[in-house]
Amino acid sequence: MPNPPVSDFATDFDHLDERWVKDPYPIWDELRATCPVAHSDRYGGTWLPTRHEDVAAISNDHDHFTSRSIIVSDHRPGEEAPPAPIGIAPPISSDPPFHQIARRLLLPAFSPRAVAELEGFTRALCERLLDGLADRDVVDASIDYAEHIPVGVIAKMLGLPPEDGDTFRHFVHLILEEVDLPFDERLAKFTPVEEYVAAQVADHLANPRDDLLSYLLNVEIDGHKLEEQHIFGTAVLLLGAGIDTTWSAIGASLWHLAQHDEDRRRLVADPSLLPVAIEEFLRAYAPVTMARIVTEDFDFKGCPMKKDDWILLSFPAANRDPEFFDRADEVVIDREINRHAAFGLGIHRCVGSNLARMELRVALECFLARFPDFHLADPGAVAWSRGQVRGPRVLPLAID
């Protein structure tokens, strides 16, 4: 049963609403100007900050806002849920001080130097995908291209079978998009995820190898290997967070370039502009919204927040704040000053940001080199994901 349609976003917003899914920017712009921290009774009570200043303040206040759950749904994690600080998927669900311990375990695997070693693999993957699209008049940049890139890379990093990509995307869809299912149904659907990860853990224990999952099985905190729940949670996090986020960023960038010939021609003529242009695509089309839960009743800038209220922490809305960015509603591919928050702010900055940037740059370089001219084959056919990660899931491009 879909949620009822929203009539007033200032008092009743819903991030699954059709209008929001299709084009959220006018909604956020209006709220920012009239009601910068909106409230909705949906999901048991949810707040939506739309100004950069407020998103930053909440991101940096771990006393009033816990990361115990970072995906808004009808089920708020109760006392039976793995509590903070460890939480369900460390470190994204962890609060200080455990957060930093869990995070430091992962950071070396995602450092710029570690990521650079994956560039050749990523480029070969992109080229192989493009080889399969030769001679096509219409290419779906999401289905035929973008969705396969982060899946291939994270499977390689974790040491999972590359042919399991469909399984991973199915998991991610469940975790991030099917958030309005009845709780029991949603919980039951997680059983195959648990079984899959358990089987992979067993295989890695039996056949240790040089990959991230083997590393997680052997790494120690204070002389102790990680708890089973920690390994499972982190494995699900790495699968869930690294796939449709980057998929969305690649797709949204190509969606923009399909409609802006001048930008596309500039980048084709001079690919060295891509790193700066990518930052602008990340700002303007930031895929990821996070969530927090209010820890106690308190007043946030005049908003009477209640314990266990959700915060929909919209980095994409913060990135469109005209108080913080010049020409915030325009895509300026050579923007020089760009303190965007696409990878979050504060201690939970996306652990995979270096990897995401590398994948995005390589994916766009390869695509533009192969297909310098393209436009939307059917603008009405473009379909966007729902929930807290936004990107095109159907994106047919006509190759000129």
Binding site: L107, S111, P112, P275, A341
Partner: protein, 65 residues
């Protein structure tokens, strides 16, 4: 002119060492570090200012002589 990084604010977004690799590097955890004594050589001033202007956490600073 000298560049600085406030380690308490840096979260490893990596903008400084990407935009000004002659002034900054990353450590093994991906946090930004100032190369050498941070003194900005002639010709690198624009890159230093770019690093400041693109740090999402406001962790990169410039000390003018």
């Amino acid at each position: 002119m000298r560049v600085t990084i406030d380690a308490g604010r840096c979260q490893g977004h990596g903008r400084c060492f990407t935009l000004a690799p002659d002034l900054f590097d990353s450590d093994d955890l991906g946090s930004g570090v100032v190369l050498g004594d941070g003194v900005v050589p002639d010709g690198a001033e624009h890159r230093a200012r770019l690093a400041v202007a693109n740090c999402p956490e406001g962790a990169v600073g410039i000390e003018e002589d």
